[in-house]
Symmetry: D2
């Protein structure tokens, strides 16, 4: 063991200031569990139904301090998590929730320095998670056709301080992407199967593709598209988070849970799509083989039935292959 003084301040490793500073985003949590996210600005006031608080009183405090509104309500001052940032964005669309955003980042294999394309931007909640993962050395290229969403996302990114790591395009992806050689592409559009050639063109060899769709019908369409467009290593997954009531002597799952958000489909581009069937999943191949056998059996059954109906020769009672 090295001989370190465990209480010495020179072991301090965080680059974060130990106290809040003007301009910083903070969360106030009420004793009822409500969370408020805002930026500390000298001279401003935080107002809520539980009373108000001057920002000046919050600047310079350590995170984790209990503070009181002017009418005496206690609130907890916390550093916001990425989940706080994502779920407290201004919204002009439905947003992708942290559980999925986080798994999508994982399936896209992002890390600091990655370059990733996203379409569409929506309100920018996932864009925050993408930028968070690739900063400071990487970049997010995000496409959105509607001006309203484009502006909402820009504002949400600016507030979170993640705008330097995002390049926003207000345009359709119908004609493709501006980038070549990106590490990953994520599609959150209604018909992702329409854009797979564009995805192939933008992705570098070895890159990662992921999409999120809400319905099983879309999963089916996207799988057909991926098989036809030279993708392999295809996976379809769904994520369920089960939350528990944190009561030690009455531990139990929450009564209600989010039942569904979307299916996450991921795949890798292959160089030579001439024989894409080779890389279908085992299950897929087994099914193809079974379909062929069944077609043969059905044909044979039909033939026998026709001959029987025609009063023709009796087949011996040999079982058909099952």
């Amino acid at each position: 063991m090295e001989n370190v003084n465990r209480s010495s301040p020179e072991n301090w490793v965080s680059s974060r200031s130990p106290v809040t500073e003007a301009g910083q985003l903070v969360v106030l949590v009420t004793s009822g569990g409500k969370r408020f996210l805002f930026q500390l600005q000298p001279g401003q006031y935080f107002h809520t139904h539980l009373g108000s608080l001057p920002h000046n009183d919050l600047i310079g405090l350590p995170m984790g301090t209990t503070v009181h509104s002017q009418i005496g309500h206690a609130m907890l001052l916390l550093e916001p998590s990425l989940a706080d940032l994502m779920t407290r964005v201004r919204r002009t669309t439905q947003i992708i929730y942290p559980k999925d955003a986080n798994y999508i980042v994982h399936k896209l294999n992002l890390r600091s320095g990655s370059h990733v394309i996203e379409a569409g931007t929506g309100s920018g909640a996932l864009t925050l998670a993408l930028a968070w993962s690739v900063a400071p050395a990487g970049m997010v290229y995000t496409y959105e056709v509607r001006a309203e969403n484009f502006n909402t996302a820009a504002e949400n990114l600016r507030r979170a301080g993640l705008q330097p790591f995002v390049k926003q395009y207000q345009e359709s992806i119908r004609d493709g992407f501006h980038q070549r050689g990106v590490d990953a592409v994520f599609l959150d559009v209604r018909m992702p199967w329409h854009y797979l050639e564009h995805v192939r063109t933008a992705l570098r060899p070895g890159g990662f593709f992921t999409s999120l769709v809400p319905t099983t019908n879309q999963v089916t369409e996207l799988l057909i598209g991926l098989e036809a467009s030279g993708f392999a290593d295809i996976e379809v997954e769904e994520l369920l988070v089960r939350r528990y009531k944190p009561v030690p002597d009455r531990l139990r799952p929450d009564d209600e849970m989010v039942g569904h958000t979307g299916f996450i489909i991921s795949a890798r581009p292959i160089v030579d799509p001439s024989d894409p069937k080779r890389w279908l999943s085992q299950e897929r191949k087994r099914y193809e083989a079974r379909k062929e056998v069944e077609a043969i059996i059905a044909e044979e059954e039909e033939r026998r039935a026709a001959e029987r109906d025609a009063g023709g020769k009796k087949y011996p009672r040999m079982p058909l292959p099952g």
Copy 2:
């Protein structure tokens, strides 16, 4: 829209070489879906039951290329994902699986530049995910008491090229951690509630704590410990991944799924733990209140019963509060 030439090579954004290089980790996927992870080394051979392949034939190919063993079996050359790295480590312990590792990274709020403590290291699968998230500017401090695990983890980190972002300690955490002011602490030990004071001491204000335990009994113990040690914003969650067979015209979930790995508990340290009850969850407080009422009712019922048994005065048939 800006006037860019979409096929121009100056749009190439990845820092990755378009072809494989000696020393790089690659994955070979068989047509049966088996995955092999190894490092490309000039002069070496890859051997499997489907035949062998000289590494020299693989060096210089684009990722996504179909290659063939000397006896003609096709295999797909892929860049490994973080999940490939994690699930193909050498193991001397059970490992934390990607679905959980990934969610733990999220609950610890890690990003490039974060400083995070982990105990114990185990085989280092989660350590890979932590290092991946904090690289290149951050650092993982990981503690492990058993030499065998310590060495396995070192080897796994070296192979993945993530050792520069990890400082390993082969020692117990009984006496605490060497660091102060870390951004996050993760405990994967049997009795995490024994080390909560050490966690508080090591965490900077605003830091993030997370633990993973397999049983409900441990969740209960940890919740008791967290409430007693000045933590708030406590959450207990469990993650389920449901995989689907990627067959477009026969889409269905897998027959088998992972039913349980562990419960993920997360919390934030508070500055003044003098009134920790204030920050209990609403559910917790409601339960405390109910317990008090029930104790009063039980006492009253007992008293009435005693008087009845003693032949004493009859209580009117007034309902007790329910």
Copy 3:
């Protein structure tokens, strides 16, 4: 193949009248999916926000008929299912939901002719399901201490016409049950482990015991009780129903789902409880064995540490068993 006239009325097998009759329970479903359960009574009116309807207009119609309120709203006339009966009871307590009720009936192994004890009755929703399963030859014996619940359950049973198959007791089960040799016992009480001796006394050899508790702490307590009281074949299960939106071209699970109701524990009494450990689950036995080994290791580690601290003899670097 038998030579039957497939359209002949003599093939009619149901004992049910093809049209509604006075006194019958029916359900009206609005086009918005709301369901109303009531009894047809000549001269009465059905009133709702969508208009009113004379019962007389409904009597004599086939089930499945579309009817209209006096202001023109269409509603569908349906025969109520058991689930309709259970979820539309008058309530003075939380009720056990159909998914669980149904599984409990299954774990109790009920069929027509079974005799089953239930405690407590609550609002009688589960009692309906039990009576439904054992009728017409069996009997439900149900215990409830609170008058309010007792009366509510009586009314709910009467309305559903299932009262002949239920014997209600308004009394505590502290002193046991009135029956001997019942086929099954179900406990829905806060501390079922207090009554296991009573359960053993009431159950016939080969009988079935089941209980439903909401928290993991209660499961632990009940398991301890069952092991100590001569029960084997112990199972702990939880049931999740995932509902889908029935939209063919946008098939997807519901956004919200019931996340938790309770844990269903079932067990069988054994004749000779002298060696109950013999019938513990494999997992349980493996854990007991591991605990013993770990205790030995911990002791040995302590001894070595003590000797080391005392400057005593150095142990060779032999690994402890892992």
Copy 4:
């Protein structure tokens, strides 16, 4: 309270003999948790890898007795549950598992006296559950085209003693069913949507229809069929059973769970199918409405684009409805 002698034998309510009898089905559970189902026959022997046991030693014992093989292995003698019967059938097909069988019985609204059609019979596992529910006053009519399955099911029903409540047909359902006015119909065939008219013809008004299919594509097809064939009150559900290891001080879910068996679709026939759209789910109707709006928007967008391309008049920047 009635004045009963709680230990008096006249309170004995079960019609079951308190001890085993020749001809009865029993289960032997090994200390390793393996279960063996067989019929007690004087003079026969039970053989297993843990030794053998003469049936004569088992006849006359109370259920729940611990017995020993001739080489000393302990086994527990239990009365088989319906689940034991179902999961220990001889199989020539995949079987429907107890969790689903049980829920199907519930969705079919079966009780003693019900008449229910099943197709196909398969190995008869579900047939056992159906017969169990409708006995002794009701009847199951089950159709199966393959001789092998027909015979397997017959044997499984005979062994369980449930054959008196089942009428088996070895024939296709292409031309319909022999019964009219049945209370319920269950279809376990690959393309249930082909037989919905036959189902309508066989069901009495107010009857219950249910089907089980494994893939989402089949659910979509069946929903289209049900909407077109005059069914309402349509539900799509999936059942997940989560089992826990019954270890009190290490309570946790099983590591593995059954991830998928099938989707359960249920519906009710309506009398006048002239306006089936009326009874679509709210979600369905909302979606239909949205599709119409979207079609209008898409058309408008196309028209505007065409005019723009033609250099025609500039549309004001009015947002399209979102």
